[in-house]
């Protein structure tokens, strides 16, 4: 018989309590892994978007807490576009807004005839005739969600626009967006001469170090603007920062809840088994073995909570994808590293929670324990 046998039997005997404790940890871990996946999904999506456009760097206003950075004057854009090493640029004005029955859709507008348009693959209809046409192209996912086809009208940015085309994009963000030209967007959203992103494409001979230097120069010359290389832009994005901050907060909360839950369970278990532990001490079990037994039980609860939390995370993701308003717009990318770190974290929480009950149990005097019955 192994120590493992006693530990597993103890947990299995008190099934309901074990199940509730594991579930308590699992819910916390589900939130942790989902947020980690959300942050990863956003980062990858953002990188994918910039890669698809062939963008090397992004300039935006330094903002916090808002998924879309605040607008800034496009006069800076002209200065930046003239900087040495920059081959092409594209101004962008985007906003998240309710459109018809959907509570939130990305409406994005691009500088007419900038390089950003080049990567789109139009699968139905056509592109806008020019930068002033009151028409919109819809990403394939957006068209499905809004149930629109070419020729339909759509109420967006406070006016009726005609759907002139449907495009496909490798970027999930773009596939779920409504695309109009920058001039139309600026005119209809009181953002004359304003943009909130500027995409930059470097000349071919610009390496990463030089690219970073250009970004630093932009930031030095334009107070309040942030410039980052495309592959680092997601990290600097306020949404990524917000989701990562939320992940940290939820992780801490999950840790506190998990600690309290497992510690409560283990203290109750030790209290209920006072006589049993006294008997084990009486028949020669060392204090260290008693500690090991209790710690193993607590750790096992943590491991089980972690594994169940990961499974619930995957389940929650699939359920979220079923919702039409969410399914096409966000990606929760749960990687092996997130799975392992969540289970590891839950295991550590379990082990830490078991420390105090284990010490308490190991210090139990057998004669005092026998009087407990």
């Amino acid at each position: 018989m192994r120590l493992w046998t006693i530990v597993s039997r103890n947990l299995c005997t008190r099934r309901m309590r074990t199940a509730l404790t594991v579930l308590g940890i699992a819910v916390g871990m589900m939130a942790v892994i989902s947020l980690m996946g959300l942050a990863r999904g956003f980062e990858n999506n953002w990188n994918q978007t910039l890669n698809a456009r062939g963008t090397d760097a992004v300039v935006n206003r330094i903002t916090t807490g808002n998924p879309i950075p605040g607008p800034f004057s496009q006069k800076f854009a002209h200065e930046i576009a003239q900087m040495p090493g920059i081959e092409a640029s594209g101004k962008v004005l985007s906003s998240l807004m309710p459109v018809e029955h959907l509570p939130m859709v990305l409406v994005t507008s691009w500088e007419w005839e900038s390089y950003i348009w080049d990567h789109l693959e139009i699968v139905e209809g056509r592109k806008q005739h020019d930068g002033t046409e009151l028409a919109a192209m819809l990403g394939k996912t957006a068209a499905q969600m809004l149930n629109k086809k070419v020729g339909d009208t759509l109420k967006v940015i406070g006016t009726e626009v005609t759907v002139c085309g449907i495009y496909e994009s490798t970027s999930m963000v773009e596939a779920g967006a409504i695309l109009i030209s920058l001039d139309v967007m600026q005119a209809h959203t009181d953002n004359e001469e304003k943009i909130n992103f500027m995409n930059l494409r470097f000349e071919e001979d610009i390496d990463k170090a030089r690219g970073r230097a250009i970004c630093q120069e932009i930031e030095a010359n334009h107070n309040g603007l942030s410039a980052s290389l495309a592959n680092e832009a997601a990290d600097h994005h306020s949404t990524t920062k917000a989701v990562k901050g939320m992940t940290l907060a939820v992780t801490l909360l999950a840790m506190i809840v998990g600690l309290a839950s497992v510690m409560n369970t283990m203290l109750m278990s030790v209290f209920e088994r006072t006589v049993e532990i006294g008997v084990l001490r009486a028949i020669g079990w060392r204090a260290a073995r008693i500690r090991k037994m209790i710690l193993l039980e607590a750790t096992l609860l943590g491991v089980a909570g972690g594994i169940l939390g990961v499974l619930l995370g995957f389940l929650a993701r699939e359920l979220l994808y079923l919702l039409p308003t969410i399914g096409g717009t966000i990606r929760i990318e749960i990687g092996v590293d997130a799975v392992l770190s969540t289970i590891f974290f839950a295991t550590v929480v379990g082990a830490l929670s078991g420390l105090y009950p284990a010490i308490r149990a190991s210090r139990m005097n057998p004669t005092v324990a026998f009087r407990h019955q």
Binding site: M1, R2, E276, A282, I283, R286
Partner: protein
């Protein structure tokens, strides 16, 4: 203390209690008031007395479950107070049998018997083999995989006796081992303990308030109010 008959000392001293006192609650409760006692190797001693007389406290001192407030307990001439962690002493030298059996309800009879061997260097297979052997010894060969709830009181106590023998202890301490048993089971358990003592020469100290149970012992020590008041020998039990 009344000495009715001179006790013989056929073997060397196994354990000795020297002027032991044990008090609780800052000295307000005195469970033992200067008890001295020698138990020889291979002896069968019964400690009798009414509830609160200190007999269980004395047994706990002998078993290293508790330490005296003053005085000393020795095992083979070595003071328990000098042994450091008494877990090893309890695991290797002493076997305990309790009134309430104290078997772990989640484990089978065989697993319960293996519990004291967890600290031993024996392999898992050897431990299991020994547990099965001991269960056969106590007449429970067909109950090895039964849990305590599936056993009668007498069977549970026999499992507890098998458990106490797991590490081949020098000293078997039984605290009211028949206190929770019916007459038939009591007779069976006492026959088993007596047989173990006779066949293996095991030193047995039994605490009881039942005189008929105590009659199985070779020596009977009567306690009252924390002191030994009477000691008798029973040559018929030898």
């Amino acid at each position: 203390m009344e000495q009715e008959q001179e006790a013989t000392t056929p073997h060397e001293c196994l354990t000795e209690v020297i002027e032991a006192t044990r008090s609780y609650e800052n000295g307000r409760v005195k469970a033992l008031r200067g008890v001295s006692l020698r138990i020889e190797d291979g002896e069968f001693v019964a400690i009798i007395g009414s509830s609160g007389s200190g007999k269980t406290t004395l047994l706990q001192l002998l078993g290293g479950l508790d330490t005296p407030t003053s005085g000393e307990v020795k095992f083979r001439d070595k003071a328990l107070s000098e042994m450091g962690d008494l877990s090893t002493y309890r695991a290797e030298k002493v076997g305990f049998v309790f009134q309430s059996f104290h078997l772990l309800p989640t484990l089978t009879a065989c697993e319960n018997v293996q519990l004291p061997m967890v600290e031993s260097p024996l392999s898992m297979r050897k431990r299991e083999e020994r547990a099965i052997f001991l269960l056969k010894e106590v007449g429970l060969a067909d109950r090895t995989h039964h849990r305590p709830t599936e056993l009668s009181g007498g069977e549970r106590q026999r499992v507890a006796i098998a458990r106490s023998l797991a590490n081949k202890p020098d000293l078997l301490l039984a605290d009211e081992p028949t206190g929770n048993l019916d007459c038939k089971s009591t007779a069976m358990v006492m026959e088993l303990l007596t047989r173990l003592h006779r066949e293996n020469g095991m030193t047995l100290v039994l605490v009881t308030h039942d005189l008929s149970t105590a009659a199985h012992a070779e020596r009977c020590i009567e306690m009252s109010d924390g002191v030994v008041v009477k000691e008798t020998t029973n040559p018929a039990a030898r």
